[in-house]
């Protein structure tokens, strides 16, 4: 091994919510790139391979190269003078950076929202309504003898969910791995994940709620009309068989994807699934878990929750956190044309939001922090190039099951981290505003005495 090569063991892949921390990275220090990522899945391999250091300006203002200091000043001026600033993204950065971002939102009286609102936000809303029986992924690996995947395609989106945690993984009470489990997959179409299942249940699009509600009824011993098949494409016999298996297993897990949340029914679908898992606990130990997408979207949920009490879509304009999905969630705020400035961290809404929202982004000053050029950075007034979390910078990332892991970076980046840029912006905004901006006096709920 040359002296310009180093090996990083126990490194963590932050591409998806599996946050696998068993990577063995071979790093070419001279060319600042990762040449080999042992244990990584196909997505992880691409993640490590493609995050070298690209020769790009560290900052752009209005598309022109600028110093980081000038860009921080420009960003701070934008945020300090905006009347309805929004902060969005945050799922692909460290908790340390997320904490600073929320503090900026509090300071300027802006809105803080994360990619959760267009991912498992509806599951967060459902959680507020019905709670959740859940578990760390290791419980599923060690105990689960029945696993049901619903509305997701882990083989392509979370490849190691099957091998490391939930299907072939061997554990204390599942010494034979796959053989010790019944695996069920529910989806509207066959995918690369389908072959893993013992039972594949194909539901008609837009009928997940009906199928889940029928299962709840059957679990509780109620009658379900056979016409359910006409509506949903799933026969009563299939549902009854599934319920019998669910009630008689030892430890069951329901893992669900955005097939439920991005679909007709949204939080009702997630809520029905969470309630089904809760109901099943009368008969066997059952847990449910949304399968989360981006590397640290779960960290974003946690940070925003512990700092504000709410998981996403939080507005500080009245001097304290308010939560209102549909009002303070970013798709809505932008589509209505409300925001007058946007700080976008590690996210690319200009590539995946509805076009009315993207159109509004073109008309307001946008600040982006991203290791890559994105559709959003291309329309930004101020664009920072930042180091990649987990590859160039350390910090904390939460796995989809709320387990926090500390990152081990592979090589240095010439670019600053998100946390450094955000801290610079916050300090400058604080100086410009003379501390936290206070809203005009209003009467506060709970402060009547």
């Amino acid at each position: 091994m040359s002296e310009n090569t180093r090996v990083v063991e126990n490194a963590t892949c932050t591409f998806c919510g599996c946050v696998c921390d068993d990577m063995v990275l071979t790093v070419d220090l001279e060319h600042k790139r990762i040449t080999k990522a042992e244990n990584a899945c196909v997505l992880g391999k691409a993640w490590f391979r493609e995050h070298g250091v690209e020769a790009r300006p560290a900052a752009l203002i209005g598309g022109r190269e600028a110093t980081v200091e000038d860009a921080i000043e420009e960003a701070a001026q934008i945020l300090a003078t905006a009347r309805f600033p929004i902060i969005y993204g945050l799922s692909d950065t460290t908790c340390e950076a997320q904490r600073v971002a929320v503090s900026i939102g509090d300071m300027i009286g802006g809105t803080v929202d994360t990619t959760t609102s267009v991912c498992h936000g509806p599951s967060g809303i459902a959680f507020q309504g019905v709670g959740e029986s859940t578990a760390s992924l290791g419980e599923i690996k060690n105990r689960a003898d029945m696993v049901v995947f619903w509305g997701g395609n882990p083989a392509e989106a979370h490849p190691r969910l099957f091998t490391r945690y939930a299907v072939t993984a061997k554990g204390l009470y599942t010494p034979n791995g796959r053989k010790d489990r019944t695996v069920v997959l529910v989806d509207v179409r066959r995918t690369a994940s389908t072959p893993v299942a013992d039972i594949f249940i194909q539901v008609k699009p837009r009928t997940d709620f009906e199928v889940l509600w029928a299962l709840r009824a059957l679990v509780r011993g109620r009658k379900v009309d056979p016409s359910i098949e006409r509506r949903t494409g799933v026969s009563l016999a299939v549902l009854e068989d599934l319920v019998a298996r669910m009630k008689s297993c030892r430890y069951g897990a329901l893992l669900f994807g955005m097939g439920l949340t991005m679909n007709r029914g949204r939080h009702f679908n997630s809520g029905a699934l969470l309630a089904l898992a809760t109901d099943l606990n009368e008969f066997a130990h059952w847990v449910a878990k949304p399968v989360r997408g981006h590397g640290n979207v779960t960290g974003a949920d946690n940070v925003v929750s512990w700092q504000t009490g709410f998981p996403f879509g939080v507005n500080f304009s009245r001097g304290f956190p308010r939560f209102n999905p549909g009002e303070f969630t970013t798709v809505d705020t932008l589509s209505r044309g409300d925001a007058d400035a946007a700080l976008i961290i590690a996210s690319d809404p200009a590539s995946n939001f509805p076009k009315a929202a993207i159109e509004h982004l073109r008309h307001i000053p946008v600040i982006t922090l991203d290791p890559k050029v994105t559709h959003t950075s291309q329309l930004a007034r101020v664009a920072f190039t930042t180091a990649t979390y987990g590859i160039n910078v350390t910090g904390t990332v939460y796995r989809m099951d709320d387990v926090p892991i500390t990152l081990r970076p592979a090589f240095d980046s010439p670019y600053p981290s998100d946390q450094e840029i955000l801290t610079g912006i916050r300090d400058r905004v604080r100086a410009l505003l003379g501390g936290n901006r206070l809203p005009p006096a209003v009467s506060l709920p709970g402060a009547s005495a």
């Binding site: 126990n10 904490r99 507020q128 709670g131 859940t134 490391r164 430890y251 130990h285 304290f320 709920p445």
Partner: protein
């Protein structure tokens, strides 16, 4: 921190130094209590006021994975109780599970300057420390859940006591915890693995292990004492909330057999039993429990009083919460942590007309009123399980003001009072001196925090100054001044400064060879790499290691 300060004319209650209401000056230099202060030091005139050390909460739930789930699940609770920002303090939301910033500021606003999070999964230690970092003003630490650890059970059942002790010490180091915590020892394996079973007797076999809760409890008490930890094993006994559980609690305390042990929220474990219509109803056995503790100086407890109103039940005792679900309404959270713990959460409201709730309220008061030694029966509501920490001023009034207490007794479920012994001890009133013991000096001593809970020279300058008032709830609800490490945080009831407190943790010595025993278990059964498990120093930027007895002795011997 550098500034000096002199507090004059106040009546000082400093039980650790035997000061009971004497008027004397308190001087501060460099964040600590000093013998004197320079002549130009700022002066606070505390005439007509009561001066106490800052409050120390020995058992509460304020940070970490389960707390954050409990926060997330109750948006309605936050909306009716917001916490606005100021020019220099962060905003947040309240309710029974406040956001981190609101938690720190609200503790400070009650005159509390330290609080210990009482139940953290080892896997959740990193998360907890991140939240504690965002919990301002107060000093803090946490107890780590080790009483259902699969690996520790394996070592125990193989009789590997030495390795068990080293592994426990390793775990305390790896998580940066302050003390080991047992919750319903043995219950998790049955709950997760055997169709929602639970332990009911201390001699029950624990699922697949050749162990009983008795053996487990004894082993932890022994190991913690051998390690010389500043706070002993913190025990949440089996059968929490069940009628007749006082026998289990007494049996647990007997296992200690003269060695130190702390029993958490003992109110929830002081129930007798009387035949009811469908099942046995609880009665009070506070007298038996108090009597045992009064006569056994190795045992300490915090009360875990119940206050009427909104609460959040959140505990690693998942089966107890599942049982409560039938009374608790719609939302239920359960969260299993691999090889380490269970967890249950439900929002809950204690109602004075409800037999069981009124009985729990009465038992909490009984335990205080029957205690002969306030240093060992200290103040808590098991926040937010028995009620929010914001209800502490009312609880203080209930202890100090018997007329107020009688008024409250008149409106609660009378049948419950009949099954408690509260009427037999209703004449006792706590003095300010005793309040200062149960809310600061006592918890600090039980925690082994030498610089906390008193105003002697060298102590941390954490000082609370209350305006005297006949209405003790009013008096304790809003101190006039609160100082943290000598910094005036609250002056004239208003926040004047922000502050970041310490994180206390222990680092007991262990044989590094134990990692060879632990690592293979991680390789086979955990989903996190062994080398990524231990929390590093970056998570405790204001960390302070409190030495074990052995470490303190060695440091003392090394000193010239």
């Amino acid at each position: 921190m550098g500034s000096s300060l002199r507090i004059i004319n106040g009546r000082v209650y400093d039980p650790a130094n035997g000061v009971d209401g004497a008027v004397r000056d308190i001087c501060i230099r460099d964040g600590r209590i000093a013998a004197d202060a320079p002549p130009d030091a700022k002066t606070i005139d505390a005439r007509g006021m009561v001066v106490m050390p800052g409050g120390v909460d020995i058992h509460c739930h304020i940070a970490g994975p389960k707390v954050n789930l409990a926060r997330k699940v109750q948006p309605e609770d936050h909306r009716r109780d917001v916490h606005p920002r100021t020019r220099f303090t962060r905003s947040g939301t309240g309710g029974t599970v406040p956001s981190t910033f609101a938690t720190g500021y609200r503790y400070a606003a009650l005159g509390y300057t330290a609080a210990m999070e009482a139940a953290v999964t080892p896997l959740g230690a990193r998360h907890t420390l991140e939240e504690l970092h965002d919990t301002p003003v107060i000093d803090k630490g946490f107890y780590v859940l080790v009483g259902n650890s699969v690996l520790l059970y394996r070592l125990l059942q193989e009789g590997r006591r030495e390795e068990f002790r080293h592994a426990l010490a390793w775990w305390l180091n790896a998580t940066k915890a302050y003390a080991p915590k047992l919750v319903n020892p043995g219950g998790d394996e049955l709950w997760k693995g055997q169709g929602h079973g639970n332990i009911t007797r201390l001699d029950d076999k624990i699922g697949p292990f050749d162990l009983t809760p008795s053996t487990v409890i004894g082993a932890f008490i022994e190991a913690a004492n051998e390690l010389g930890l500043p706070h002993p094993v913190h025990i949440h006994c089996n059968n929490l909330g069940h009628s007749g559980n006082a026998d289990t609690t007494l049996e647990t305390m007997r296992i200690a057999d003269g060695r130190r042990a702390h029993i958490a929220h003992i109110q929830f474990h002081s129930y007798g039993s009387v035949a009811g219509k469908s099942h046995d109803n609880p009665t009070s056995r506070a007298r038996d429990i108090a009597e045992y503790i009064n006569t056994h100086p190795n045992i300490s407890a915090d009360v875990g009083a119940v206050m009427f109103g909104r609460a959040t039940i959140m505990t690693a005792d998942a089966p107890a919460v599942y049982m409560l679900r039938q009374f608790g309404g719609a939302k239920w959270v359960n969260a299993d942590t691999e090889h380490e713990s269970g967890c249950g959460i439900i929002p809950f409201t204690y109602q004075d007309r409800v037999y069981t709730n009124a009985l729990q309220w009465a038992i909490g008061l009984e335990l205080f009123l029957l205690s002969d030694d306030p240093w060992r029966m200290v103040f808590s509501t098991d926040h937010p399980n028995g009620g929010s920490f914001t209800s502490y001023p009312r609880l203080i009034r209930l202890l100090m003001d018997r007329e107020y207490r009688k008024e409250q007794m008149a409106v609660v479920n009378q049948k419950a009072l009949e099954h408690s012994g509260l009427r037999d001890c209703q004449d006792r009133e706590y003095s300010l001196y005793e309040i200062a013991i149960v809310t600061r000096a006592g918890p600090a001593r039980l925690l082994g925090l030498a610089s906390k809970g008193h105003l002697g020279v060298g102590a941390d300058a954490d000082v609370t100054i209350y305006e005297e008032d006949a209405d003790k709830e009013k008096m304790f609800a809003a101190p006039r001044y609160v100082l943290k490490d000598g910094v005036v945080i609250i002056e004239d009831h208003e926040f004047r400064a922000d502050h970041e407190g310490r994180v206390y943790h222990v680092a007991p010595d262990y044989d590094a060879g134990i990692e060879q025993v632990i690592e293979p278990f991680f390789d086979d059964y955990y989903t996190i790499q062994f080398r990524n498990y231990a929390v590093d120093d970056r998570y405790v930027p204001h960390g302070e290691v409190v030495p074990t007895m052995q470490q303190a002795a060695a440091a003392g011997a090394a000193r010239p």
